[in-house]
């Protein structure tokens, strides 16, 4: 697995290529890219800034990649999460999953994204375009994201962060 937390942009196509180059056992690659939208709840954004807890983010993402590898037969996983200031239209996060067949690749990518949204220690702060709201505002967690992550909890599974 490859996990990188970085300030710099990434190249999704090149990262997917690195997983498959020279291999003939991979039949499916899913590449998901999360992109900074230009609005949050209808208000126009200038930029968003992501704060993170570096050591924990690395460990927490690795734990979830390992869990994905236990649940599906994967041939490769790459997760890249950016931090710092990101403007609308720029990439934020990349998940690439490679498998023999599409089902595993799709499921693992969705699983990893659902967990990244709710469990990886990153926090978004937005800057609105409206001069009257120029201060930075922390984005609230969405209950709908928690519900999406909860779909993957197996009976008796762990979910320590839930209150």
């Amino acid at each position: 697995m490859t996990i990188r937390l970085q300030r710099e942009p990434f190249d999704a196509a090149s990262e997917a290529g690195k997983l498959t180059r020279g291999r003939s056992d991979i039949g499916a690659v899913v590449t998901f890219t999360g992109i900074c939208r230009g609005d949050e709840a209808g208000a126009k954004l200038v930029a968003m800034t992501l704060e993170h807890y570096p050591d924990m983010a690395q460990a927490e993402i690795a734990r979830h990649v390992e869990e994905a590898e236990q649940r599906w037969l994967l041939k490769g996983v790459t997760v890249i999460h950016r931090f710092g200031r990101i403007e609308p239209g720029e990439d934020i996060v990349l998940v690439v999953t490679a498998a023999s067949h599409r089902h595993e690749a799709f499921a693992a990518a969705e699983f990893l994204m659902d967990y990244l949204k709710t469990r990886a220690p990153f926090w978004k702060q937005v800057e609105y375009a409206d001069a009257a709201r120029r201060e930075k505002v922390w984005v609230d967690a969405k209950a709908s994201d928690d519900a999406l992550a909860d779909r993957w909890v197996r009976p008796g599974g762990r979910r320590e962060a839930a209150e």
């Binding site: 807890y53 460990a59 927490e60 999460h81 949204k117 220690p121 320590e160």
Partner: protein, 83 residues
């Protein structure tokens, strides 16, 4: 032990991290939040609603009733909004 604060918890407390020595009666993460809240106005503001604050011990998520004995690093932060 070292405590670290992130996002609006960090902003309210006014610092990203510090060393603390809570008394032995402080047994759990919830106890520690109550103890921190008594350290001053900024802490009271940061921990005014402990139910919304998440915690990690030594870089793994924990619940509020988790024991803190032996912890080297405890972090407090709002619900995560990555991805």
């Amino acid at each position: 032990m070292k405590v670290r604060y992130f996002a609006w918890v960090r902003e309210r407390v006014g610092k990203p991290e510090e060393e603390i020595e809570p008394p032995a009666t402080i047994a759990t993460v919830a106890d520690l939040m109550r103890w921190l809240a008594m350290r001053g106005e900024e802490y009271a503001h940061a921990f005014e609603n402990p139910k919304v604050i998440r915690a990690a011990i030594d870089r793994a998520h924990v619940k509020a009733d988790t024991a803190i004995s032996g912890a080297r690093e405890i972090a407090f932060f709002p619900p995560m909004t990555g991805g």
